[in-house]
Subunit: 316 residues, 2 copies
């Protein structure tokens, strides 16, 4: 069975490992990114680690590299990266190919995560799949007819920045009423703080550095204000989900990211709110489920994209 | 060059004709639908017309049939049709195949129209394309990577029923704040009537049976209230367009339907409003253009889908 060298480059750490064609991780490892050294230095460190495990785990047939940012998957070109300063306008694919002497597939982290969930996680066995990540921001990606939907410029899937409430609260992108503006972590915390202040008997009352995790724990423990805040978040998420279903008609939507730890406290109101807004029961057959791969999604996904790419290359 | 028998079934009339592989209409004709007679009777009438033109125009290699409703394009099954009473749950493809002795492709009218615009109209030469129809309702369809995007159940593209203004005006679907609720013909007329009443010097003031066409004519003639109503419509359409661009990243969006006759009076404010809401100039490279095929779009589109299907069938 063929092996892939998977390389998931974050702003702080690089997750790397050897993965087989079925997505089994044979060995993995974390190294600091030290992005300021540039992509060549990171590629060199990855090559060194690969060299050290090769005697035991054998040769990789290809490599997959992902990071955040605007990437042309066809050419492996990184236009812009929000969390890798100095890496803008670099031939990321070429740099890793030269260093590793392997065919390299490059994709952004969100598309990689979606593909991971599609092949190995919540989207297995479906043809039309959407993944949404809830956290500091709200991201997303689309699989259509078994293929990653990238769009004309490779920029599709910005589900967090579709407007569900014209004239609503200001978003990080400068617009008003984006889905992200309404359900990002900071908005949930604010909703919980307001609900707690109103209720007068919430465990969250007066807490300053409140996090979504604390809101979730309080809600799980039955705190009414926390439950209300998550329900409200779920209700708005449900509007976004209904929009996605009307436009894309997916079979499965997976919800991941830090906020998804709240589980059914958010997902149940989201499902209810979505179904209320769908035209016809038949569309309501869509399954809204938790993502399954957690923070391994991008790493596994880009490795599986490298497997796909192997099939597209002529045998030498 | 191969020929296709195109059959576009509306609630009142059936448009039918012989079209060549390049979309040239060799001959066409209109017959009344008389839907109450059932699909078999319509297929028989179509077959009779086909028989009458065959000596002159030659044999068709296949046929394409479209109508409004929920259709499974794979099997040619019509689940539900809003404007063909009694046709629900019929094997539309099989009925026409038996009657015509031709391979038959069946698709709904909206997807057919999108495919027509994609192959022969405003979407030619692109890979990622969206068409939106503005009229009594607001419809849409998607082409992704050169293929019609149908979705899991073939129900994708309900762009008119995505919510852009939570809690906004009630839509025909029962929800609030759908794009359709805000920019359908009746909403435009209402906006124009309100603007006219406010202005006090509009040619539209006091008109009772106002139509979008009259609003457009008044706006083209410089009537300020009419211009304002169309600008407001364009502005909201722009929010919907920005959402489509963020989710789907198309190269071209074509706007058709009765309302599109207002042209740049709606499209210019729509483009401006869209660009204000897009993250990054690069997404703003999308072209928002008028549709080109008018009421021939479905007829031509389903004919071109039949051409596609020819390529997928083994030669006999």
């Amino acid at each position: 069975m063929k092996r892939i060298l998977g390389i998931d480059i974050g702003g702080t750490n690089v997750k790397l490992g050897i993965v087989d064609e079925d997505g089994r991780v044979l060995v993995d490892h974390i190294i600091p990114t030290d992005a300021a050294d540039g992509p060549e230095a990171v590629a060199e460190r990855v090559a060194r680690w690969y060299g050290s495990v090769r005697p035991k785990f054998g040769d990789a047939a290809a490599a997959g590299v992902d990071c955040a940012g605007l990437i042309d998957g066809e050419t492996g070109y990184l236009y812009r990266s929000p969390n890798l300063p100095g890496w803008d306008d670099s031939k990321l694919g070429k740099i890793f190919e030269d260093e590793l002497a392997l065919a390299v597939t490059v994709e952004n982290d969100v598309n990689s995560a979606v593909w991971g969930e599609y092949v190995l996680g919540a989207g297995r066995g479906t043809g039309y799949f959407v993944a949404i990540t809830l956290g500091t921001g709200v991201g997303g990606g689309i699989v259509a007819d078994g293929q990653l939907y990238r769009g004309w410029q490779g920029l599709a899937g910005e589900i967090g920045h579709h407007i569900v409430s014209s004239g609503g609260p200001v978003c990080s992108c400068g617009n008003r009423g984006c889905l992200e503006a309404l359900i990002r972590a900071s908005s949930i915390v604010e909703a919980a703080r307001n609900a707690a202040a109103e209720s007068g008997d919430s465990v969250l009352e007066g807490k300053t550095d409140l996090t979504v995790e604390e809101v979730s724990i309080a809600a799980a423990g039955g705190d009414a204000a926390a439950v209300r805040a998550l329900e409200e978040t779920g209700r708005i998420l449900g509007t976004g989900l209904a929009n996605i279903v009307h436009i894309l008609n997916p079979e499965v939507i997976a919800i991941g990211g830090g906020i998804s730890a709240a589980g059914d406290l958010i997902l149940e109101p989201a499902r209810r709110s979505m179904k209320e807004k769908l035209m016809g029961d038949i569309l309501g057959a869509v399954k809204v489920v938790p993502a399954q791969l957690g923070n391994m999604a991008s790493f596994l996904g880009v490795s599986m994209l490298a497997v796909e790419a192997l099939g597209e290359r002529p045998e030498v």
